[in-house]
Amino acid sequence: MEPLMGMGVLALMGAAATIAGTTEDLESDVGSQSNPNSQVQLAPQMMYPHRIYNKAISGEPPSNALICAIGGTVASVLMTASLSVIFAIAIGALVATAVHGTYCITAYMGRTASQKRFRQPIYLDILRSHTPVMMGYAFITTFCILVVSYIMVAVLAHPFPLTLLAFIWGITVGAIGSSTGDVHYGAEREFQNVEFGSGLNAANSGNIVRKAESGLRNGIDNSWFCAKFGGPVTGLAFGMTVFLSGWVTAVFNPATSLTMGWLSVAAGVILVLLMIIWNRKIEVAARKAFGPYKEEEEVAA
């Protein structure tokens, strides 16, 4: 492939991955999945009943792996039946979305019903309003992941089948969403009522913010907040992962010579080192600028 074409393909994959990362994180914020979930689950026990969607479909990596693998399976079957690629991917994502909806509903209803003794009611309007939002986000995520996987198979001639690639990218997007974006919700949004950077004191466990700017806070309010920073930053992280991991071999193509192969490895190592240094600088700068707590408290946090 022409180097310029290769870069174009990579850019397309990076763009699709950025969208997938963003919607993946926002989907998990609407339903309070993974990291923030423990506090949402704990709140009623601490006498803080709430109107926040409590959805745990295991962690984000397995749940996204599930929707992406189902989407990939359906798309791959339809492509075998020689349906057009766009339709196959769209229908695959649609089936995956439907499955995701059932997983969301069973998680919310089941978990809330199991909190009977803490007097946490099931609110059906929460179920009806939030589930379609999550399904919508899940559709976009699955669609974009399938686009990335399909490009890898059809254009870059990756040896893995579509379903397997979709499965692997599903785990990856879930893992990145879980580690990058959820902090924004779990550490910030849920505890806006305590001083920034104070960490989670044991006494505050379960005392999540339950009242919104107007009325009672719900999961859609949380995704509104997270769409400002947590979601996009997850998208950037995932987009960069997809783009940069492909970029090193697009620039230094190992197929041309062994030297190029080693150069691509070296470029990858240099990129990782740069990221580590950059991240460390951001962390130190943020601590200096915002961190109110003192040395000894830092250890406790």
Binding site: L42, R51, I70, T73, T102, T106, M109, A113, P121, T163
Partner: protein, 269 residues
Amino acid sequence: MSAGGAGGEATGGIPQNKLIALGALGGLAGAYGGHFLSVASPAFAFIGALGAICAIVWGSAAVRRVASYGLGTGVPSIGMMALGMGVVASMFGLAVGGIAGPIVAFITAAIIGFVIGVLANKVLGMGIPIMEQSMTEIAGAGALTIIGLSVAMTGTFMFDAVLETVVATGYIAVIFIAGGMAILHPFNANLGPDETQDRTLMTAVEKGAIAMVVAGIVATVADGASAVPSILIGVFIWYIAFSKFVKLVNRDAYKVLGTGLLPTEEELE
């Protein structure tokens, strides 16, 4: 998830031994029934998926028992491990076993599961009394789930056909995750002090039916299995199980409200 898991033995409902019998015998019967009847007509491949649903119900009951000891965030991990052990055991069993493949796979899985259970308790010192038994059960259920869904996809458990239709095409990934989630999700979705066994197992049936439908979709491209019975029966089972689940939620929940404010202070006292 620290709030989940009562920290003690799970109680109530159907005794575990009955569920073991259902899962092991049902799973094997499904695999063999689907395999032999598919020779007569590919339409019978769906029996494999019925066996898988039996195994999934058993697996989720075993997860429920072991995870009730306060495993919390470990619930998803244990489900993934079940299918991890299951994939290794079922590939080994089908490769060497021939017609005895599912049985060899089942026994292999049980051995792997037992060893992992012993390691978890003795080496890692988790100290969960039923760890060894539960890991054995979970691994066995995982292997039978994989074989059952493979039969529903291909109409046979002969290694060559499974390798060609299920593994090389990558559909093994969807078996892995749809089967694994069906085993781990029921307890995870119903986690909490007022969890009940019938509700958890009904979720398992519902999630198993989804795996069955997906297996049916894959069967459209396989020669030995027909898709329509698996999809239709899967959707039917899903509908029944989902309706029952919603009924059980209505039975168990504190209140099911159309909308409303939070419970008042007095109500919480």
